[in-house]
C-alpha cells in the first residue's frame, strides 16, 4: 500500500536536483595541515627558544651591535639568546612553512567544505581552515615582529628572564600568601553570604532591609576603597594595630559576603517551591526545611559560581598593595611590583602573571569540571523528574 503510494509520487514528480553536490576527498588532510601549521608556529617557536637557551652561546655580533655586552648589560646572554633564536634560519623555515601550510589549509578548506558528503568531513574541512587562519596570523605576526628594530628593547625589558633567576621561591611563597588570603576571605564570605541570603528571602521587610542595605553598600563601593577605609578605621579609628593582611582578609570576607549573598539567593530561589512544601508538610520548621531540604540542594547548584568568585578574589588580593605591605610579606602582585620598582624591568610582571595563571588555571579547570558534573549529575536528573 505504502510502496504503491511512493511509486505514484515518484512517477508524478520530477526527479529533484541532487543538492548534496559532488563528494570531495581529503578533508582529514586539510585538518591535519591546519594542525601542523599552528603547531609549527607556536610549539616550534617555543622549542627553538628552549633549545637555544639550553645550548647557550656567545654574544653574537648582531647583539653586540645592539649594545649587549656580557659585563655591562644585565642578562645580556639571555636576551641575545631569545633574539638569536627568533631570528635564526630555523625559525624562518618554521614560520614560512607554517604560513604556507596554513594558507593551503585555508584555501583547501574554504573551497571544499560545502562539497563534503558527511558532517564529520565538513567539520574537518572547516576546522582545518580555521586552524590555518590562526597559524597564518601567528606566523605573520612573528615574522613581522622579529624583524623590527624594537625587538631588542622589547626583549631586554619584558623577556629578560635572567632577572627572575633565584626568585622562584619568592613567587612560590607569594602565591601561598595570595591563596591564603583568598581562601580565608572566601570562607568568611560564604558564611556571611549564606546568612545574608536567608535574610533577603525573609517575608518580613524588617529582616530583608538591613541585608539589602549591606549587600548594596559592599557591591556599590570599590574594593580598593573598602580596603583603604577599613584599614584606616581599624588603625586610626579604633586604634587596633592589626596587620594589613588581617585587614585584607576581613574586608575580602565582607565584600565576598555581599556578592555570594546574591549567588546563594539565586540558588535558593531556584529550588522548586514543592521542596519547601514537602519539608514543611512533614512537620519541619522553616529553618529545618532550609537546613535539610533547601540549602543542601542550593549549595550544590551554586558551587560553580562560588568557585568563579574565588578565582576573582585570588586576583583581587593584589589590591592589598594600596595598604603598603611589609617587605617580604607580599603576595604575587607585590613581588612583581617590588622587583619592577627596584630594576625597572617588566619581566617581573611576566613572572607575576605566570604565578597567577599557575594558581587560577587549575581552579578554572575544576570549575568547568564541576559544572559538567552538575549538569549531568544528581541534581540534573532530579530537576527533570
Amino acid at each position: 500500500m505504502e510502496a504503491a503510494v511512493n511509486e505514484t509520487v515518484r512517477e508524478t514528480t520530477e526527479t529533484p536536483p541532487d543538492v548534496r553536490g559532488p563528494t570531495s576527498a581529503w578533508p582529514l588532510s586539510i585538518f591535519v595541515a591546519g594542525w601542523i601549521a599552528i603547531t609549527l608556529a607556536v610549539v616550534g617557536t617555543l622549542a627553538l627558544q628552549v633549545a637555544r637557551a639550553v645550548e647557550g652561546g656567545l654574544i653574537t655580533p648582531e647583539c653586540q651591535a645592539a649594545g649587549l655586552e656580557v659585563n655591562k648589560s644585565f642578562g645580556a646572554r639571555g636576551v641575545c639568546n631569545v633574539v638569536t633564536a627568533l631570528r635564526s634560519p630555523a625559525e624562518t623555515t618554521l614560520l614560512v612553512l607554517a604560513l604556507a601550510l596554513g594558507g593551503a589549509a585555508i584555501v583547501a578548506g574554504w573551497t571544499t567544505y560545502k562539497g563534503m558528503d558527511t558532517r564529520r568531513k565538513r567539520d574537518h574541512a572547516i576546522a582545518g581552515a580555521v586552524l590555518g587562519v590562526q597559524a597564518a596570523l601567528v606566523a605573520a605576526f612573528l615574522l613581522l615582529f622579529r624583524s623590527g628594530s624594537l625587538l631588542f628593547p622589547f626583549v631586554r625589558n619584558v623577556l629578560n628572564f635572567t632577572y627572575l633567576r633565584g626568585t622562584f621561591h619568592l613567587f612560590l611563597e607569594a602565591a601561598g600568601r595570595t591563596l591564603y588570603m583568598a581562601f580565608l576571605g572566601e570562607a568568611g564570605g560564604i558564611a556571611i553570604g549564606l546568612i545574608l541570603a536567608l535574610f533577603t528571602l525573609s517575608k518580613r521587610r524588617v529582616v530583608r532591609a538591613p541585608a539589602r542595605a549591606y549587600i548594596n553598600f559592599f557591591r556599590g563601593t570599590p574594593l580598593i576603597w573598602q580596603l583603604s577605609f577599613f584599614y584606616a578605621v581599624f588603625t586610626l579609628g579604633v586604634g587596633l594595630s592589626v596587620g594589613t593582611v588581617f585587614t585584607a582578609i576581613i574586608v575580602f570576607a565582607l565584600n565576598m559576603g555581599a556578592y555570594l549573598a546574591e549567588v546563594f539567593r539565586a540558588g535558593l530561589q531556584s529550588i522548586e517551591r514543592g521542596q519547601m512544601e514537602a519539608a514543611r508538610s512533614l512537620g519541619m520548621s522553616y529553618f529545618q526545611a532550609m537546613r535539610y531540604a533547601i540549602v543542601p540542594q542550593a549549595v550544590r547548584r551554586v558551587i560553580p559560581p562560588i568557585m568563579n568568585d574565588f578565582v576573582v578574589l585570588i586576583k583581587d588580593t593584589s589590591l592589598i598593595f594600596v595598604l603598603g605591605v611589609i617587605l617580604g610579606q607580599e603576595e604575587l602582585f607585590g613581588v612583581g611590583q617590588e622587583g619592577y620598582s627596584s630594576t625597572f624591568n617588566a619581566t617581573f610582571f611576566v613572572g607575576t602573571a605566570l604565578g597567577y595563571l599557575a594558581v587560577t588555571l587549575p581552579l578554572i579547570a575544576i570549575v568547568n569540571a564541576a559544572e559538567r558534573r552538575l549538569r549531568s549529575g544528581l541534581v540534573g536528573i532530579a530537576g527533570a523528574a
Binding site: G283, P296, G383, A385
Partner: protein
C-alpha cells in the same frame, strides 16, 4: 475525645482569596475516622487549594479548620506539630532529590519526631515494604520511575504515622501504565482504615474507594453524597456535563 466529636477533620466556611481571585467560596466538610473523602471537579475549581487548606499550606482567608477537635486556624497553633499527624502526597512527588529513598523518610523521623537512627530506618523500611519499593531504598529519586517515586512519597508520609492522609492529584503526573500501582497502594490504605482526603481525576477510584464524594466547581461544593449514588444519579447540570467529559 468526646464521642460526639468523632470527626478527624471539620472545615467550616472556608474562603480563600488570591488577590482579587476568590478561589474558595465557603466550603464545609466533615470527615470521620476511617472515611475516605473524594474531591472531584474541573481544573481551577479550587480542589487542590481546599486540600492544602487542610494542612495549612494555604492559610484560609476566612473560616476554620478543625483537626482532631482543635481549631488549627487559630494562629497560636503549632502547625509543625499538627503536620506531623497529617500526611500529604503531592502531584509532583516532591521527594528530596539529594537524599536516597530511605533517607527521604528517615530525615523527618529523626529531626522532627526525634526517633533514633536505627528505629527511624526500621520504620522507613517497614513503609517502603508496605508500598512495594523496599528494593529501591538506597536509590536516589532521579533513579526511580514516577510510580516508584510517588510510592516512596506515600511511604514518607505514612512513616510519620499520621491520623489523616491528604492526596493531591497524586496520579496526574504519572504515565498511564504507572497509575495503577499508586492507586493500588491507596486502595490498600483505605481498606486498612486510614482516614483519607483524595483530590483525583480517577473516577473509578473515586467510586470504588470513596466513602463520600464532593464535586466542586467555581470554589463551591456543587454536589455531595455517596460516590456510587452521585455518579449514578447526578442532580446538577454541571456535574452531568463534567461526568460526560471525563467518563
Amino acid at each position: 475525645m468526646q464521642p460526639e466529636d468523632r470527626a478527624i477533620v471539620r472545615l467550616e466556611g472556608i474562603h480563600k482569596w488570591f488577590g482579587d481571585h476568590h478561589v474558595l467560596r465557603g466550603i464545609d466538610l466533615e470527615l470521620d475516622a476511617g472515611e475516605v473523602q473524594v474531591v472531584i471537579g474541573p481544573s481551577g475549581s479550587g480542589k487542590s487549594t481546599l486540600l492544602r487548606c487542610v494542612n495549612m499550606l494555604e492559610i484560609p482567608s476566612e473560616g476554620h479548620v478543625w483537626f482532631e477537635g482543635r481549631d488549627i486556624t487559630d494562629c497560636r497553633t503549632d502547625l509543625n506539630a499538627v503536620r506531623t499527624r497529617m500526611g500529604i502526597v503531592f502531584q509532583a512527588f516532591n521527594l528530596f532529590p539529594h537524599m536516597t529513598a530511605v533517607r527521604n523518610i528517615t530525615v523527618a523521623l529523626q529531626k522532627v519526631l526525634k526517633v533514633d537512627g536505627r528505629e527511624a530506618k526500621e520504620r522507613a523500611m517497614e513503609q517502603l515494604t508496605r508500598v512495594g519499593v523496599a528494593g529501591k531504598a538506597e536509590a536516589y529519586p532521579g533513579q526511580l520511575s514516577g510510580g516508584q517515586q510517588q510510592r516512596v512519597a506515600i511511604a514518607r508520609a505514612l512513616a510519620m504515622r499520621p491520623k489523616l492522609m491528604l492526596f493531591d492529584e497524586v496520579t496526574s503526573a504519572l504515565d498511564p501504565e504507572l497509575v495503577g500501582e499508586v492507586l493500588d497502594v491507596m486502595k490498600q490504605l483505605a481498606e486498612e482504615g486510614m482516614t483519607m482526603m483524595v483530590v483525583t481525576h480517577e473516577m473509578g477510584f473515586a467510586r470504588e474507594v470513596g466513602t463520600w464524594l464532593i464535586f466542586t466547581d467555581g470554589g463551591m461544593v456543587v454536589e455531595r453524597g455517596n460516590p456510587t449514588e452521585v455518579f449514578a444519579n447526578p442532580q446538577t447540570e454541571r456535574l452531568q456535563q463534567f461526568l460526560a467529559k471525563v467518563l
